[in-house]
Structures are given as structure tokens and as C-alpha cells.
């Protein structure tokens, strides 16, 4: 009984708590990282006053947001107005339920040494051999990729609702742009992922990584076109430059969140960063081999194994995020009709062609 409780309730709950806490911290410090990186790109220093090199800045910002007056515009739809930020925030976290941080036996060692103190050897064995308990992920569902795609759409729903519920013109335009953007990009994004799925032969993120280990190649080398498409669509998905049209502070003065202030605004703001992390984690899992070291199975590189798999995963996510920030510091913003033009006329055909070619190659040579 106790081991079942351990496997299905206690250990997953501990993992979920750990991930949520870690993610919250990561989001907060991603804002600081962005400010710092952009600042250095732009020959500035960025935040320097709060803590050493501004290290406490995210905490100060968070406090400020919480302490601000909570304003709901009188002409807005109060219920939707309140729900919208939550809609954008939650999915970004939930996606991490299926993203693997490490291999299925990651926690086996530590779990065993802890559990032997309280359980009989047979029970310990049954707990540590279960992937749900000892895997480096919360759960491994066989439709992981679909789960992620559906959740990311819900996140954009929050933006649309926020713009709509504000009952104000600039947010409305932001929401409209967001809708256009979502329709244009989700399709290409989905097709770019199909390329990976064809090669991997599975929808489970854990299996996708394991397959990359077997084939000794990260899928970025197998599916380069798909990766480029995924990366561009990911930027559109997270509303980052050059696709930050729903916000476009110099055109729509903040777009969908113009009417938001205080803590609600901070939810939107943090959701953008949460989404960045989510998308990066998914991208790393699908294309950069998840928790694997570079070139898995290449013998003479095995000294790289001294870095634990979780760290490899985090390093790669960091690189992904860094590229996001770097792009923001470098290029201007697209116009929303140009974005749709690319979405429909360039990326979608490319993604389709990629799927066709991949499928054909697999059919002929495998």
C-alpha cells in the first residue's frame, strides 16, 4: 500500500512542487537575465542597484507588482478580465508535466538509499523500478507532444480573452493580432513537429529522447528544416521579437495588456517568460537531445558524462533562451500581415514539404 502511495502520490507531488518552485525562480531570474544580456548588447549595464549586479531586482519587481493597486476597468468584463492572465500562466507550467529533465532511471540511486531506511527491500525495488517514481520527469504519457500542442493553444486563448475583456481599442487590436498570429503559426509549428515524430516514431517525449540516444544523433541533424521552422514558430508562439505584435509597445502601447496593471499584469508578463522556458524545454527535448550529452554514444566524448543529465538539459535550455534574447536585441519587428504571409506562404509549405520528404525517405530506406 505504502509503495503504491509513494509511486503515485507522494513522490510525484514532491517532484511537482520542486519543478513549480524551480520554474518560478527561473522565470523571475530569466527577466533579470534578459535585462542584463540586452543591456550588455546595448553597451549598458542593466540593473545594478538592487543587490550585487542587480541580483535581487526580480524580487523587488515582484514585490512592487504585488503591492500595486488592483484595478479592473469599470467597462471591462470583470470575470474574463480576471481569468485571462491565469489562462496564460497555468498552461506554461502544466507543460512541464511531460517534459523530461532526465532519463527514466535518474532518481533510482538517491531513492534507493533513502527508501531502504524505511521500507523492506522488495518494496524498495518495486518503487525504484517504476519510471513514474524514479524518472527525471513528472509523468510520461504516450501522447506527450499532442498534450503540449493543445496546452500552448490555451495559453494564447488567455491573450485573446485579455484583449477582448478589456473592452478597449488597443487591447482589442492586440487580441485580433494574436488570433491571426495563432492561426498562422500553430499549423506550421505542428507540421514541423511531425517531422520529428516521423523519425522518432513516438509521441512520448521520453521515448523521443531515448530514440535520439539510440540513433546517436540529435534530431536537429536529422531534421534541420523542421528545427528552423520550429524555432521561428516558437518565437511567434511566445510573442517575442520579431513577432511581438500583440504587444508591440511602440504601436499598440502594450497591446492586449494595456489595461492591465499590478499583479495581473505581472502574471501576463511572467507568462511570457514562462512560455519562453516551456518552448525552449520542448525544443531541447525534440531537437537537441533533451538530457543527453552532445553526440551520445560517441565513445571518446564519454568524459562529458561527468556532467549530470539534468545539468545538460538545463544548459541547453539556457542556450535556447539566450538565443531568444539575442534575437530580441538584434532585429526589428515584423508587421502582422507580413507575419501571416510568412506563416501561410512560406513556413506552412516548407513544413509540409519537410513532412513529405521525411516520410518518403523513411518509407524508401527504412
Amino acid at each position: 500500500m505504502l509503495e503504491i502511495l509513494l509511486i503515485y502520490a507522494i513522490i510525484p507531488l514532491i517532484k511537482i512542487t520542486a519543478i513549480v518552485l524551480f520554474l518560478s525562480g527561473a522565470i523571475a531570474y530569466l527577466t533579470l537575465l534578459e535585462r542584463k544580456v540586452i543591456a550588455h548588447i546595448q553597451v549598458r549595464l542593466g540593473p545594478m542597484r538592487v543587490g550585487w549586479h542587480g541580483l535581487l531586482q526580480p524580487i523587488a519587481d515582484g514585490l512592487k507588482f504585488i503591492l500595486k493597486e488592483d484595478i479592473v476597468p469599470s467597462r471591462s468584463d470583470a470575470l474574463l478580465f480576471t481569468l485571462a492572465p491565469i489562462f496564460t500562466m497555468i498552461p506554461a507550467f502544466v507543460v512541464f508535466a511531460v517534459v523530461p529533465f532526465g532519463p527514466p532511471d535518474m532518481l533510482e540511486g538517491p531513492l534507493r538509499s533513502v527508501l531502504t531506511l524505511v521500507l523492506e527491500p522488495a518494496a524498495v525495488e518495486s518503487v525504484v523500478t517504476s519510471a513514474i517514481a524514479s524518472g527525471g520527469f513528472v509523468t510520461d504519457i504516450n501522447i506527450g507532444v499532442l498534450f503540449i500542442l493543445s496546452l500552448s493553444s490555451v495559453g494564447i486563448l488567455g491573450i485573446i480573452l485579455g484583449g477582448w475583456a478589456s473592452n478597449s481599442k488597443y487591447p482589442l487590436l492586440g487580441a485580433l493580432r494574436s488570433t491571426a498570429q495563432m492561426i498562422s503559426y500553430e499549423v506550421a509549428l505542428g507540421f514541423s513537429i511531425i517531422g520529428v515524430l516521423l523519425v522518432a516514431g513516438s509521441l512520448s517525449l521520453v521515448e523521443i529522447v531515448q530514440n535520439q540516444e539510440e540513433s546517436q544523433l540529435w534530431y536537429i541533424f536529422v531534421q534541420p528544416v523542421a528545427f528552423v521552422l520550429f524555432f521561428i514558430c516558437a518565437m511567434a508562439e511566445t510573442n517575442r521579437l520579431p513577432f511581438d505584435l500583440p504587444e508591440a509597445e511602440t504601436e499598440l502601447v502594450g497591446g492586449f495588456h494595456t489595461e492591465y496593471s499590478g499583479f495581473r499584469f505581472s502574471l501576463f508578463f511572467l507568462a511570457e517568460y514562462a512560455n519562453m522556458i516551456t518552448v525552449s524545454a520542448v525544443g531541447v527535448t525534440l531537437f537537441w537531445g533533451g538530457w543527453l550529452r552532445p553526440f551520445p554514444n560517441v565513445e571518446w566524448l564519454s568524459f562529458l558524462d561527468f556532467i549530470p543529465s539534468v545539468l545538460w538539459f538545463l544548459i541547453k535550455v539556457f542556450v535556447f533562451l539566450y538565443i531568444f534574447i539575442w534575437v530580441r536585441g538584434t532585429i526589428p519587428r515584423y508587421r502582422f500581415d507580413q507575419l501571416m504571409h510568412y506563416g501561410w506562404k512560406v513556413f506552412l509549405p516548407l513544413a509540409l514539404a519537410n513532412v513529405l520528404v521525411s516520410a518518403g525517405v523513411l518509407l524508401v530506406f527504412m
Binding site: K169, L173, E251, V253, T330
Partner: protein
């Protein structure tokens, strides 16, 4: 009247400004939108009106000078220059060579500073935020030069009747030379970020197109006019203050779109550097202030003096009744005239382009509202 149904679409009327990050001050544009497409745009100005033209009727000619710093605060040096040229012509005051050269050098520095500010804001309007800070880095160097010579950075009160307030401070020429040497590299940097950038080109090419004839009909001047291929630069057409002694080219555009206007301003910065270099090489010695009476009483009459400011033809129409105060000073602000064309330029474009077009006109509300 036809019956209204749920499928009918309505025009959306939206106020851009006066508090809007991309209207460069307190311009208010009333946009009529169909979706995001602009059907009509109406400019509403006057939020920064200070009545400088009226004030000028109650101040002496000399007291007036610092007021014109504050019309176009981005190009304060050339503003004062335009006014002083007029007053000096009316009074027949000789300006010593050294002062003339320094004036030209400083107005050209001002042109660069003004174009830098334009590039910075134009780029950030279109979303390229890094260019913004790069430009401000270089503008800072020019402002330091201003501070060294004029004692102020923005509202400089640059020149005095008959010449300069004082001679160049120690080390000024070296600092200016250093800037001239380093600046082309920085312009290359901006070009690297923007000129061949796909997104930048797509956002600016064929946006806000105006033909040469039409630009003349609207009375547009400055870079927007030259962007449409009209070779009209007052420094060449009607040289003033000694510009005929310097060699420089007038860059021209072909298509009259936002991208051409961008290229032209970048080239103008390089041409300004050429002029500054020539000034530094040939700077004559001598006094920097000619003989001018303490109280100016120009003869009765009307006088129009205009210069090629960074934004276009900046004119001062001065009417004298023979007293120590002008009867009337009418300013022809280049951007006030250029802004008229906004409605014509934005029609049919998208909201995002409105921002780009306001940016490309390089407006300064302090000058439009006066």
C-alpha cells in the same frame, strides 16, 4: 437606409496620442481603421503650444535668440543659426571668418545629432531597440562638444549676434577630430544592423511613397523631399553663411519611400562629417565676434532668411518696424509643413506603418506647435 445586420462591419476610430510612445511627443492622430487598415488619419496638434511667435513681438532681437532654441529642441543650434543669419543680414553685421567656420561646423554637428536621434527613435518604433542605444552613445559625444563650447547640451543658446560667445575651448578641435575619425565606423554599425536587414527592408520599402512632384505640391522639404529624388538643398541652391566654400554631395533617393529617406539621412550624416573635416582642416585664426551694436534696431522692412535644417527648410520671416523689438517673427517650421502630408502618406497602410511614417517624417512637436 439599409437595415443593419450582425455581419456589418464598423469602422474603428482610434486615438493615437497625445500620450503614445511613437508619436514623438504630443502629436495626436485620429485614425479611422478598417481592421488594421487606415482609412483616414487626422492630425491634431497644439498640445505643446507656447506662443513663441507672439512672445517674439515683445522681446528685443537679442533676447529672442534663446527662445528659438526651444522651438526645435533637437536641432537648437541650427534654429538659432537661421534666425541670427536673418538678423545679421538686416543689420549688415560682418561675421568674422573663424566664427563663420565654427558656426558651420556646429550646425553640421547638430545635423548629425538630430539625425542620430531620428534614427534611434525610428528604429525603436519599428522594433530595433539596440540601434536606439547605439545612436544615443554617439549623440552623447556631440552633446559633450556642445557643452564644451556652449555650456549646455540641449538648449544651447549657441551663437550670438555677430559671431560666437567665445572661442573654441582648449582641446575642442582634437575632440572634434576624434569624433570625425570614429563616427564613420559607428554609422557602418547601424547599417550593419539595419540596411540589409530583411525585416527592416520589408517594413520600410514601399511604405509612405510620395513622388517628387507631389512632395513639392505639399511643400515638403528636407530629407523627405530629397528622398523623392528632388535635388533641393538650400546649402547648395541658395548657399548661406559660407557653405559655398565647402565640398559636399546632396544624397538623393529614387522611390520616395521610407527606406530611401532612411538611406538619405545616413548618407547626410557622412556628408556632414566631410564638411566638419574641411572646417577642421581650414579653420582660420582671428576673432570670433564681429562688431555689433548693443541694441539692434534693424531698418524698417521685411526679411526672410532660411536655412537647410536637419528636418528641412527652416525659415524666419522677420518684420521690423525700426524699433528694438521685431514687429513679427513668423517661423516656417519644416516639420509643420511636412506633417501635413501624413494623412496622404498613411492612407491605405496598416497601423504599424503609421508609426513608421510618423518616424520617417522626423517631426518635432516643439517646432510644430511652437
Amino acid at each position: 437606409m439599409a437595415e443593419q445586420t450582425i455581419l456589418d462591419t464598423k469602422e474603428l476610430e482610434i486615438n493615437m496620442g497625445p500620450q503614445h510612445p511613437s508619436t514623438h511627443g504630443v502629436l495626436r492622430v485620429k485614425l479611422k481603421l478598417d481592421g488594421e487598415r487606415v482609412l483616414d488619419a487626422e492630425c491634431i496638434i497644439g498640445y505643446l503650444h507656447r506662443g513663441i511667435e507672439k512672445i517674439s513681438e515683445n522681446r528685443s532681437y537679442i533676447n529672442l535668440v534663446p527662445y528659438f532654441d526651444r522651438t526645435d529642441y533637437i536641432a537648437a543650434v541650427s534654429n538659432v543659426y537661421g534666425y541670427l543669419l536673418g538678423v545679421e543680414k538686416m543689420m549688415g553685421i560682418e561675421v568674422p571668418d573663424r566664427a563663420r567656420y565654427v558656426r558651420i561646423m556646429m550646425t553640421e554637428f547638430n545635423r548629425i545629432a538630430s539625425h542620430l536621434l531620428w534614427l534611434a527613435t525610428h528604429a525603436i518604433d519599428i522594433g530595433a531597440m539596440t540601434v536606439f542605444l547605439y545612436c544615443f552613445r554617439e549623440r552623447e559625444e556631440i552633446l559633450k562638444l556642445f557643452e564644451a563650447l556652449f555650456g549646455a547640451r540641449l538648449t544651447t543658446h549657441a551663437f550670438r549676434v555677430g559671431g560666437l560667445w567665445m572661442d573654441l575651448p582648449l582641446g575642442f578641435e582634437e575632440a572634434a577630430q576624434k569624433f570625425v575619425d570614429e563616427f564613420p565606423g559607428h554609422v557602418d554599425e547601424y547599417e550593419q544592423l539595419l540596411t540589409n536587414n530583411r525585416i527592416w527592408i520589408e517594413r520600410t520599402k514601399d511604405i509612405g511613397v510620395i513622388s517628387g512632384e507631389e512632395a513639392i505640391e505639399w511643400g515638403i522639404s528636407g530629407p523627405p523631399l530629397r528622398g523623392s529624388g528632388v535635388d533641393y538643398d538650400l546649402r547648395k541652391v541658395r548657399p548661406y553663411g559660407g557653405y559655398e566654400e565647402f565640398e559636399f554631395d546632396v544624397p538623393l533617393g529614387v522611390n520616395g519611400d521610407t527606406y530611401d529617406r532612411y538611406l538619405i539621412r545616413l548618407k547626410e550624416m557622412r556628408q556632414s562629417l566631410r564638411i566638419i573635416q574641411q572646417v577642421l582642416d581650414n579653420l582660420p585664426d582671428g576673432p570670433v565676434r564681429g562688431k555689433a551694436p548693443k541694441i539692434l534696431k534693424p531698418p524698417v522692412g521685411e526679411f526672410y532668411s532660411s536655412i537647410e535644417g536637419p528636418r528641412g527648410e527652416l525659415g524666419y520671416y522677420i518684420v521690423s518696424d525700426g524699433s528694438a523689438q521685431p514687429f513679427r517673427v513668423r517661423i516656417r517650421p519644416p516639420t509643420f509643413v511636412n506633417l501635413q502630408a501624413l494623412r496622404r502618406l498613411v492612407k491605405g497602410h496598416l497601423v504599424a506603418d503609421v508609426v513608421a511614417i510618423i518616424g520617417t517624417l522626423d517631426i518635432v512637436l516643439g517646432e510644430i506647435d511652437r
